[in-house]
């Protein structure tokens, strides 16, 4: 392909090919502190025009790669970076088989990890990003990788995709952070990518032992309740895109995870209350 970018995020290597220069240049900026990768990738993503001449006329970016869904709608070229990020997410969601993949965020301190999961909009990405300002290492904001053989959580510190009001909140809390371009009018409103801090990138190959599993909900008065292992198991199978694909390895990893960790549902009105709840359960 005309423009190529290779990068390693934690244990996963991507190769991204693009028909246009702009998305690749944006990727180079956003990922400038990540290790480059020009060997054999785990996943290939292609950003293509529907027809050769559509590279110039009303260009729209089609997301292709090793794993695709047939009805993925194309994006305008101005959102090419978002297309690349979605393409990488899609490869992980459909193709990851080395780790049990949980749709969740994770932070770490002293080698011990907190996994936070919940429906989109529960605020887990934002919470994980903001906890960096309070001394936590960001391990993942979207996909938590659990290694079946050891039960350890491996980092996957992608740039955090923040939306709408969360963008300004994070800019105030993390004034020195590196950001991608602001993309307005995406299918999900305004989106901007926040590059994880130095600790997250330096520790991108350092796994941690999961000790706490949280089901956070943002926007409610601070409260917590315990969650049974069975409920946690069911909710995590629903939050995993590859649980079935992993077969018995997935079963072993997930039953072990929910049995070994402390489990709680927390409601929180702001980051400070969430941090206090987490530090109390820790």
């Amino acid at each position: 392909m005309r423009h190529v970018f290779g990068v390693r995020v934690g244990p996963v290597a991507f190769r991204i090919g693009s028909a246009w220069r702009a998305p690749v240049e944006q990727l180079r900026t956003l990922y400038r502190d990540y290790p480059a990768h020009d060997g054999v990738p785990d996943f290939t993503v292609r950003l293509e025009a529907a027809r050769p001449w559509r590279r110039f006329v009303r260009p729209s970016v089609h997301i292709r790669g090793d794993f695709v869904i047939p009805d993925a709608a194309p994006l305008p070229l101005a959102q090419g970076l978002l297309a690349a990020e979605m393409g990488m997410n899609l490869q992980m969601a459909l193709g990851q088989r080395r780790f049990l993949l949980l749709h969740a965020a994770a932070v770490e301190r002293d080698g011990r990890a907190v996994i936070m999961t919940g429906e989109s909009g529960a605020g887990k990405s934002t919470l994980a990003a903001l906890l960096q300002a309070r001394g936590w290492r960001l391990m993942a904001d979207e996909f938590v990788l659990v290694e079946p053989a050891t039960g350890l959580v491996h980092p996957f510190p992608r740039p955090v995709s923040l939306k709408n009001a969360a963008i300004d909140v994070a800019r105030a809390a993390l004034p020195d952070a590196l950001w991608g371009p602001l993309m307005r009018d995406t299918p999900k409103g305004a989106i901007r990518h926040l590059v994880p801090g130095a600790a997250a990138l330096a520790g991108a190959e350092t796994p941690a032992e999961p000790v706490l599993l949280l089901f956070p909900r943002y926007g409610l008065p601070a409260e917590q309740r315990p969650v049974g292992a069975g409920e946690a198991f069911v909710r995590l199978t629903q939050a995993s895109t590859n649980y079935v694909g992993l077969g018995e390895r997935g079963f072993t990893a997930l039953t072990r995870l929910v049995t070994d960790v402390t489990r709680a549902a927390i409601d929180y009105p702001d980051t400070d209350s969430a941090a206090e709840l987490i530090e109390a359960l820790w």
Partner: protein
């Protein structure tokens, strides 16, 4: 050498993998993924010294293939239970048959739907039993339904929603509209048991079916995997039975499939070095078109040479349906498309 041809070369001779550069590996793996041959490649290269990242990827692919195999065999077992007393043994087709019978063609193979062959006079009873055991119609469209029932070689596809698996119930191996007319009765009569209440087509029929499937069913996409099936089947059967080649020739003639089987043999020999008889080795001019089409992917696994593929698609439809019927079929499809949007 195109990446797809490199893939074919490595599949046929795993020692060729040692010479691959990182760039060549990236291309070969992407093409193998796209052609649904990555599990097969992983099994072929198992145990060889490989670059660490390649080994890790192929290890994942092998695990994935193993899970696919487990699910496919289980789906066959569930169909067997549902159809007990109606069709015994249950005749499996394609990938599920290969893995259930422990054939080399099944090693690492990716498997999609469950395909079974049911005698035509048992079709209604089989349909009723599957519906009673939780299978449902995929798309209840009266036109498609009537079309399938009148002209196709299978029931409209059924899905088991809880297991999220499709089943294709065939009563022969080509649409009734096709000019090729394989003899369904012979297929059933000569099926061989493979244990566990299951059966598969005879060694000659299975190759005839694979060849028909390769050229007459669809647009040759996924054809590389189908041709690899044929290579493995031919090697295994010819080694076990000294009289295999003449039997295959006779059987191909019985089914009116001499040309497609001969072409499959020539192509398999050209790509994978299949040890077919001398007089089936020389490529014809038209074979080169087929080869180009089978290998039409670049190092990013993009399908190149779209025009060739399109040509093949039209050709394959014409082969299955007399022209007037094709026109009627397309017209109804277009009209429905127009009213929908």
């Amino acid at each position: 050498m195109t990446p797809a041809r490199t893939l074919a070369a490595v599949l046929a001779d795993p020692s060729a993998a040692e010479a691959l550069t990182p760039g060549a590996w990236a291309a070969v793996l992407a093409v193998a993924q796209a052609e649904q041959l990555i599990g097969t490649l992983a099994v072929r290269l198992d145990g060889l010294p490989l670059p660490a990242r390649v080994a890790a990827l192929l290890h994942d692919a092998q695990a994935t293939a193993l899970e696919g195999r487990r699910q496919a065999l289980w789906e066959a077992e569930m169909a067997r239970r549902a159809l007990a007393g109606i069709v015994e043994p249950l005749i499996l087709l394609k990938g599920t048959a290969f893995v259930a019978a422990g054939l080399a063609a099944g090693q690492g193979r990716s498997i999609g739907d469950l395909d079974i062959l049911v005698p035509r006079d048992r079709l209604d009873a089989a349909e009723t039993a599957l519906l009673a055991h939780g299978w449902m119609w995929v798309k209840p469209d009266p036109y498609d339904d009537a079309y399938y029932r009148r002209w196709m070689h299978e029931l409209p596809p059924l899905i088991h929603p809880e297991r999220d698996r499709m089943i294709d119930v065939h009563h022969t191996i080509l649409p009734l509209t096709a000019r090729l007319r394989p003899e369904a009765g012979k297929l059933v009569a000569d099926a061989v048991p493979i244990g566990g209440g299951l059966a598969m087509l005879s060694p000659t029929d299975v190759v005839v079916h694979a060849a028909i499937h390769l050229f007459a069913d669809g647009d040759l996409s996924g054809g590389l995997r189908n041709l690899w099936d044929i290579d493995r089947l031919l090697r295994e059967y010819a080694e076990a039975d000294g009289g295999y080649w003449p039997s295959l020739a006779t059987r191909s003639a019985d089914h009116g499939a001499v040309a497609v089987v001969a072409r499959a043999m020539r192509l398999a020999h050209a790509l994978f070095g299949t040890p077919v008889p001398q007089d089936s080795q020389r490529l014809r001019l038209s074979d080169r078109l087929f080869l180009r089409c089978l290998l039409a992917r670049d190092g990013w696994a993009r399908e190149s040479r779209k025009l060739t593929r399109l040509g093949f698609y039209i050709r394959s439809h014409w082969m299955r349906m007399p022209p007037a019927m094709l026109a009627r079929h397309l017209w109804i499809k277009w009209r429905k498309g127009a009213s929908a949007g």
